[in-house]
């Protein structure tokens, strides 16, 4: 179903609606068509115009104005009909001698003009009645010529009673219709009829305007009174320049109320101004159709821009096309280089395994962090509980196993009671693994059996930092049993531990800086006299170093990677895993440095050569 949207409020209305049911705005725009005006004028009075249907919706005070407008707004009346009733109207005038014969006075009461108007508006009065009334009044006016052309409101009653209106306007009307008749034979009959009818309408309007209410005259009487008052006071009126005086409006109220000719015949049918004629329609600019401006379809561009646009278009088209992938051989230079690097590194690592004599030279001096850690562990007494947090992934076993094994070897020598814990899911297994490695390398027999318990694996701490904090505050409640499910705190050594401060030493082995920092922040702050030592990978050492260099120290010792493990073993005089790893680690490190220097230098030369050739090409 088609829906008409209001151009003002935008709401939807039924298609048959002429006005918006929400804002009363006109949905069917007015179209100024002078050719249709004579039709409106020529509509017989007995035909009810559509505007009459809206009459009941307008206020009573607007009836008079509405009537004039409705007469003009009448639609769908054929021109022939207008000619008929106009011709009858003309014949009636011709058959009567309006200038000499007095009009016979009827015995009955004669209706007044204001009483007749509603009948005319409603169309109930027939043509004959109108004619008789009009020409009866005309005869009366003939007998008593009017004294003033302008009839004031106070004269309306007298006008009806004495019939003093002259009939000059009727003669003028007759002459106009004669002109209309003479011009109607031509092809522009419609236009002439419209002009004459329009003048008739204006004349009728003028008569209507003569019957203005008293308050209108009071309004226009005001300035005259002030002027008279000023003259009474002896004040001469101001002399205005000619140009300023020319701008003043010198017309009467009729001129003020006059309307443009284009819209004079239009009657507002909707909104608060419904019924008023001559209202400038609010939407002619919207309603009138306009032909869209024709713009040139071709771009006004220069030749350079056109060429660039074509290039851009070609680029865009090429983007959508599949580009064939060049066949790459199985053996490329990069693959060869990668294979060569791997072979060289593997060779450098394997050579010391078969010939330990070549690069068997250990770092001579141990740093302060390693020495401090060694001294702390050396002070650990027999059966002292030591908490070891295994927080590294299995992939870092090669590096951290060596470092942690050296420290555990020292602790086993001191016969410390080891308690393993981890916040890493693989940490408990890694703890078992490192105990096994330490037993093998250091010839120890640290076991956890029913008859001999020398270490306890408390397993996994869930919860991340919150779990670490919970364990540090109350380790008994956090992990009541070991990884096998056996009660962990019934051991004589463990019964002495109620808090993390009851451990003699806390060791954290991690390659992850986040977990390392979590242990310092969550557990390290609760450590009062218990030292904290870190076993870290070489990449994590710079992240732990600030805690060691702080004052007071938050970390009392650091053993970093393979080289730290070697230094720790050297400090305690033990040959651990690190000593086994060191020759291969050292040669592999040296090979890597050499490859970086050679490979980097070769690539730098290639790049410089390419840049040089590129400059030459550009210069040529």
């Amino acid at each position: 179903m088609e829906i008409v949207s209001c151009p003002f409020c935008g709401k939807e209305n039924p298609p048959e609606s002429e006005t918006c049911q929400y804002c009363q705005a006109r949905l069917i725009p007015l179209k100024i068509n002078p050719a249709s005006q004579p039709d409106s004028i020529g509509q017989p009075p007995e035909e009810e115009s559509p505007a009459k249907s809206n009459k009941d919706q307008v206020p009573e005070s607007q009836d008079g104005l509405q009537a004039a407008g409705e007469m003009n707004r009448s639609e769908a009346a054929p021109v022939s009909d207008a000619s008929d009733w106009l011709s009858g109207f003309r014949n009636q005038i011709n058959t009567q001698d309006l200038s000499s014969q007095p009009v016979a006075q009827d015995d009955g009461p004669r209706p007044e003009i204001r009483d007749i108007h509603p009948d005319i508006e409603s169309g109930t009065m027939q043509n004959d009645s109108i004619r008789s009334l009009l020409f009866t009044d005309a005869g009366q006016k003939e007998e008593q010529p009017p004294e003033n052309s302008v009839i004031g409101p106070q004269d309306v009653e007298r006008t009806g009673d004495t019939a003093a209106d002259d009939l000059a306007w009727l003669r003028e009307l007759q002459s106009q219709y004669q002109q209309v008749e003479s011009l109607s034979s031509a092809g522009s009959k419609k236009d002439e009829d419209w002009s004459a009818a329009n003048e008739l309408s204006q004349d009728s309007q003028k008569r209507e305007d003569d019957v203005v209410p008293s308050w209108v005259d009071e309004i226009y009487a005001g300035p005259r009174d002030e002027k008279e008052a000023e003259s009474d006071l002896g004040l001469s009126p101001a002399e205005l320049p000619a140009w300023l005086d020319a701008t003043r409006h010198s017309g009467t109220h009729q001129d003020i109320f006059s309307i443009p000719s284009d819209y004079g015949g239009q009657v507002e049918i909707a909104g608060p101004l419904a019924g008023l004629p001559g209202i400038l329609p609010a939407e002619p600019e919207i309603a009138l159709g306009r032909k869209a401006a024709a713009y040139p379809a071709q771009l006004q561009v220069t030749e350079t821009n056109r060429v660039q646009a074509e290039i851009f278009d070609q680029v865009l088209q090429s983007e959508g096309q599949n580009q064939p992938i060049p066949d790459r051989g199985l053996v490329t230079s990069q693959k060869v280089m990668r294979m060569a690097f791997a072979i060289i590194i593997i060779f450098a690592i394997l050579v010391p395994v078969f010939s330990l004599q070549t690069l068997e030279r250990y770092p001579p001096i141990a740093p302060v962090a390693v020495l401090t850690a060694s001294q702390i562990i050396s002070s650990i007494g027999n059966e002292s509980p030591v908490l070891v947090a295994v927080e590294y992934e299995p992939g870092f076993s090669g590096e951290l196993d060596a470092a942690l094994a050296a420290v555990l070897d020292h602790l086993m020598i001191q016969e410390a009671f080891l308690v393993f814990i981890s916040s890493n899911p693989t940490g408990p297994l890694q703890a078992e693994h490192i105990v096994t490695v330490s037993n093998q390398v250091g010839s120890h027999q640290y076991v956890n059996t029913e008859g001999q318990i020398e270490y306890i694996n408390l397993g996994f701490i869930p919860g991340g930092p919150a779990g670490l904090r919970n364990f540090a505050e109350n380790p008994r409640l956090s992990n009541p049993s070991d990884i096998s499910g056996e009660p962990a705190w019934q051991n004589p050594v463990m019964m002495t531990v109620d808090d993390i401060n009851d451990f003699s030493l806390v060791i954290v082995a991690s390659e992850n800086q986040d977990k390392s920092r979590a242990w310092i922040e969550q557990a390290g702050t609760l450590l009062a006299n218990t030292p904290l030592i870190y076993i870290v990978s070489a990449q994590s050492e710079p992240l732990i170093r600030p805690f060691f260099d702080a004052t007071p120290r938050q970390v009392q010792g650091i053993v970093s990677g393979v080289i730290g493990s070697v230094q720790y073993g050297t400090t305690i005089g033990r040959q651990g895993i690190a000593q086994l790893y060191w020759p291969s680690f050292n040669s592999g490190l040296l090979a890597a440095a050499i490859l970086i220097v050679i490979g980097g230098g070769a690539n730098a030369l290639l790049v410089l050569n390419a840049i040089k050739n590129g400059r030459k090409k550009g210069g040529n």
């Binding site: 299995p394 920092r517 710079p542 600030p546 890597a592 050679i598």
Partner: protein
């Protein structure tokens, strides 16, 4: 956008929990409540870990059922998971066979990945000049070489200068940079905690 009323309940729980733990640090009388909240957090995290395992297996089971090119990897994961369960559950996580799986599968595989990573890093350093020739590239490569040579020992060759330079880099430049990072991390952690406490940040749902 209309927010879910359930979110307000989540916000209330989060703010109440965070405020309770935070106040417990300042008032020792509330330490028990704080410890209780931490216990709940640990339990919830453990349950989430189990849910994660179930979700992982479920996801890969769906991939196995679909006609996907990588379904073989999902099938390997499911088979490995089942075998690990069959080995670990009856005998315990530290039994002989459990440690065999760990020592002979997990450690070698992960260590091999890191070994390959070392080779690729060396190759990338050598190719770095080919990709970008700038002063920053020279500084980076020079620092790497000096740090490596600071560890290396060569019979008959004294490299004490490299070792001193490496110690200087580690104790001055690296520590200075890391301290800045730690300060930033601390401030960011405080800001994030405050945002959660006032309900401005809702990592648990919008």
């Amino acid at each position: 956008m209309k927010s879910n009323p359930f979110v307000y309940l989540l916000v209330a729980i989060a703010i109440a929990s965070g405020a309770t733990v935070l106040v417990g640090y300042f008032f020792p009388s509330l330490a028990e409540i704080k410890g209780e909240m931490l216990d709940w957090a640990v339990i919830f995290t453990a349950v989430l870990l189990l849910i994660g395992v179930v979700s992982l297996v479920r996801t890969h089971w769906r991939k196995t059922m679909q006609d996907h090119n990588d379904r073989v990897y999902s099938l390997v994961l499911i088979i490995s998971f089942i075998l690990t369960l069959l080995v670990t559950v009856p005998s315990g996580p530290t039994s002989k066979w459990s440690m065999w799986l760990y020592n002979n599968l997990i450690i070698p595989i992960e260590s091999s990945l890191l070994g390959i990573l070392a080779v690729f890093l060396i190759y990338a350093c050598a190719r770095l000049f080919n990709q970008r020739m700038s002063i920053y590239t020279l500084v980076f490569i020079g620092t790497v070489l000096l740090a490596m040579l600071g560890w290396v020992t060569i019979p008959g060759v004294e490299l004490e200068g490299f070792k001193d330079f490496r110690d200087w880099l580690l104790s001055v430049w690296a520590v200075a940079g890391v301290r800045g990072i730690l300060l930033g991390v601390g401030l960011g952690t405080v800001a994030t905690g405050l945002r959660v406490l006032i309900g401005a940040d809702r990592p648990y749902g919008s």
